[in-house]
Symmetry: C2
């Protein structure tokens, strides 16, 4: 026969409209073509269905049955937002319902800290979420943060060295165009996020509450929380500024053996450009989450092994880093912090190495950071804290659902625009064009103007099809980019709420100790005051989040609608132009 | 167990997005639900796929295998425009290519009248087409036309009595809305069309050519063909008029035992309304194709057994009858004919019975009609006739393809508007609404305006979804209605070209007879002159067709584009209104 048959190693759900074939584990596929390119083959199953599938999903060694099934699938499911994400949204929704009930039952609050506690569910959610981003480089960078990896000029190329399976994604379907923003590639550093609560504990959150950390001298960088009409806020940023992240440039060292991308950062208060690599961002990220345990520092964009020098990827990452830098420079505490300013301003020379070492030795991190906070003197009633945290816990989960749903819908809509919608309009165009071509068989002058008008109508609908294909680049893409950032921001709150919970538990422990005569009332009062400092920062951060959320989602929706209005206006104009051609018929 | 299983009698291709299940002959289906309604059941095949299917397609007697497969499928394929029609388009395309070659080879023209002759292919096509409309009521009405069924007031209810299988269509899917114009119900009277050529022969086309028919006296109703710059045309209609077909009304007789629909026809030259039933139209149709063998009298809308009193159906048929009456009243020959005027003007009393009998006894039908034609004296060169007929043969086939393709695309686009498009926009709306509902959890006044704006955006996209669903009623529906009429018109031309071919063959027979000394040159000349009369009427009819085609398709395209422009303008406005809500956020 000469037919090559292969056995399927992993299920792959093909997108039929892209000509992809759905294949099932242990199924035998007859190879039709191997020179499809980009990691795809064309084959036919025993039901006679043919299409493309990723060659990595089949056992190319075995011809026929047999052959060991090994490992996990080589790539994440390409329908990230559709299938798996929907499933997670459902899970979240199911979880949030009982949690809400529990929170609204005052008798059960803080009474049992067992597994049914909704705050623990927050952690459970995080653990669940972390299964999306199965990378292990959080550990690596932690080691690096510990100072064992001295200086930047090591040979280790962070742009692609250590990455988990979640980023070695499915090859691009030969029939699908890639967009500059790839939704599959972002928002997956959950493992790192999980470390943040333990960092709060390790770095002395408890110690601060118990009064065993020292204020550590110099406090020129004071942070304040003030009461406003909406609750408590971070003190305003005295000197706001913006930073542009531009001109991603491929650079190399070791005579071209190692290459990487540098991004040019220009803060508008200094107007001096500094050059930063992804690993510099990563270093900064580690510093920020170490220092600010109750501030929502969103994860950096995901790492990527392959295709990381492709124009689309580089531009997509630049946009994500720009958002990240915007987010941090809009935060009144982070923006004014020494380490962030150092990152934005230090030239890449000896100054950098010194500053880097100094930042890593900053004593005012974690629990000790709270010594630098000027919070209101008023004691916070526990019931009020409870209500606030309950509400935000519920809000955060609900918004996480809403955001993921919006992302899933936007991704699906993008696919429809580029696929089904485009095809449908172009098919209508083709039908008019074909009719025109038929009418062109009648060569009489009285027939010609109609023929031409029909051709123009055909061309108009073909053009509209193309407009549908390109439209996501103007609206849905940016919407997804920005909403995806919020997915990252939201992912930080379970840890922050967990820190808050740890704080409250510690206060209650102390209350118990007073009852048992192991602690004095004065000591308990001091513990309460210090715990309130942590609570005030958390409340200020929640308030800051809400303010930013309103500004950002107003912006997201407005931008989206404006682009949509322009889009439908363009369609209308295109059709009006086409209609004019019938005037002379 | 208690599970009911049935065996599939006929293949049925389900529309997956309507929840329908594709079933294959002899497959065993497990019944899930029988109370779906409207002739549908829900079931599951052995691959675990579940969905709706027409209960008439399975053998409800047999539980399990066995059971005789009988008869033909009880209903036509519901995907008339998609599946089967595409297949026919392909066949046509494949046939037309070699035919075109043959026509363009002058040496082979008229040399062999064997099976390879392209005109015979025209008949082959017709035979192929006739498989769509497998009804047998052409015979019934023929019998009626013969006068055996005297008068109208018989008990036989023509609106539904005799109908073939093609009209006892698939029950309406429970998940699909019906449109006022149902593309599946129209354009299927091919069997009747096939009879028209034999009618030409039977009614004396040959006899006329050979000069054996008589001019039959009175010729007050003369018809003329004149030369114009574009070729030959019917003489202009001296008194053009329009007729409205309105107010379909359910009427009954025999104390309600028989009911039917009457349509009120009002010609604007008399302004007197007459009431007509479908069977009156049918009677008229028979008279017209009997009398005018070289005129494209389009088939009437298809009959229907079930649902014929439903509002949508009645209105759809009214529209089709309006188009048909328009078509006939715009035809300069038909509009002025005695029988058509009688149909439009005679009150439904004794006058009607007399006129009906007189029309049925009209001697100037078929071949004898040509005695009433005043054609140019100039003899037509055979080569010119050949070219004209070749071109039109090619044109007609190509346009038939183009029209069927446009109908298929429009039907598919309608489905997309009502399904996928609507769903996609409403899903986007839902995502915004959900996000608003999430944001509503934050009860602070600073948050509320954004929440409201997001809800309005959600409502706007939900509304746009509904607009997509309804849009086909404004554009595609009318386009399909009018393009479908052309499918019917085009279906008449193979017979007309066949009559033309019969004429040419007869002339060549006579030429041979002259060569054999069996006919004189003078007689041949007379034969040629008479044959030219038939040819002139055919050329005039082709010319008339082209003129109407340009007018009609200009109108179709303009109307479609205007509605589309309004549609996208409305979307734009809806979004602009929605955008305004963000001004106060």
């Amino acid at each position: 026969m000469g037919e090559e048959k292969v056995r399927v190693l992993y299920d792959f759900e093909g997108v039929a409209e892209n000509g992809e074939l759905t294949i099932y584990t242990d199924e035998i596929i007859t190879i039709l073509r191997k020179d499809v390119g980009e990691g795809w083959w064309e084959g036919q199953n025993d039901r006679g269905e043919a299409g493309y599938f990723p060659s990595a999903y089949v056992d190319s060694e075995t011809s026929g049955s047999g052959g060991a099934v090994t490992d996990t699938p080589p790539a994440a499911d390409s329908s990230y937002f559709n299938g798996s994400q929907d499933a997670s949204a459902t899970t979240y929704a199911q979880e949030s319902a009982p949690a809400a009930d529990q929170w609204s039952d005052p008798s059960s609050q803080y009474q049992n800290t067992a597994a049914t506690d909704p705050w623990d569910q927050g952690v459970a959610n995080t653990a669940y979420s972390s299964s999306y981003g199965q990378d292990s480089w959080g550990d690596t960078t932690s080691a690096q943060a510990g100072g064992q990896d001295e200086g930047w000029d090591d040979d280790w190329d962070d742009d692609g060295a250590s990455t988990g399976s979640s980023t070695a994604t499915t090859p691009t379907s030969p029939t699908t165009k890639t967009m500059s923003y790839d939704a599959n590639k972002s928002g997956g550093t959950m493992r790192k996020s999980l470390n943040r609560f333990s960092m709060f504990v390790k770095s002395g959150g408890e110690a601060f509450i118990l009064g065993t950390t020292k204020s550590a001298g110099s406090s020129q960088n004071r942070v304040s929380v003030t009461e406003t009409q909406d609750g408590w806020s971070w003190g305003p940023d005295p000197a706001p500024y913006k930073v542009s992240v531009a001109d991603p440039t491929k650079a190399s060292k070791m005579k071209g053996l190692k290459s990487f991308i540098t991004y040019q950062l220009t803060p508008d208060n200094t107007n001096k450009t500094v050059s930063r690599r992804y690993k510099h961002f990563d270093w900064l990220y580690e510093r920020l989450i170490e220092k600010f345990t109750t501030i929502a520092v969103p994860p950096l964009p995901e790492k990527q092994v392959t295709g990381r020098y492709e124009e689309n990827f580089v531009e997509g990452r630049r946009q994500q880093l720009q958002l990240w830098v915007d987010r941090m420079s809009r935060h009144p505490v982070v923006a004014q912090s020494e380490v962030f300013q150092f990152f934005l301003q230090s030239p890449s020379d000896k100054t950098w190495k010194d500053g880097k070492r100094r930042a890593e030795k900053d004593p005012l991190v974690g629990g000790a950071f709270f010594h630098t906070v000027e919070a209101p003197q008023a004691r916070l009633p526990a019931a009020r804290i409870d209500t606030n945290m309950e509400n935000f816990n519920r809000f955060q989960k609900s918004m996480d659902d809403g955001v993921k749903n919006l992302l899933a819908v936007a991704a699906e809509s993008t696919k429809k625009h580029m696929g089904g919608f485009k095809r449908e309009y172009q098919r209508v165009g083709e039908a008019f064009t074909k009719l025109g071509t038929t009418f062109d068989l009648d060569k009489k002058p009285s027939s010609k103007p109609l023929t031409n008008a029909l051709w123009k109508t055909g061309a108009a609908y073909f053009e509209i099809g193309k407009m549908f294909e390109e439209q996501p680049q103007h609206d849905l893409n940016e919407l997804m980019l920005k909403v995806d950032e919020y997915k990252g921001i939201l992912s930080t709150f379970p840890d922050i709420l967990q820190s808050m919970k740890g704080t409250m538990t510690k206060v209650r422990d102390c209350q118990r100790m007073v009852g048992e005569g192991k602690m004095s009332d004065e000591e308990l009062e001091e513990v309460g005051v210090r715990a309130d400092v942590i609570t005030y920062t958390t409340l200020a951060e929640i308030q800051h989040f809400h303010e930013m959320r309103v500004v950002d989602f107003k912006d997201i929706a407005q931008h989206f609608l404006k682009e949509q209005i322009e889009f439908y206006g363009k369609i209308k104009t295109t059709l009006e132009e086409s209609l004019k051609n019938y005037d002379n018929v």
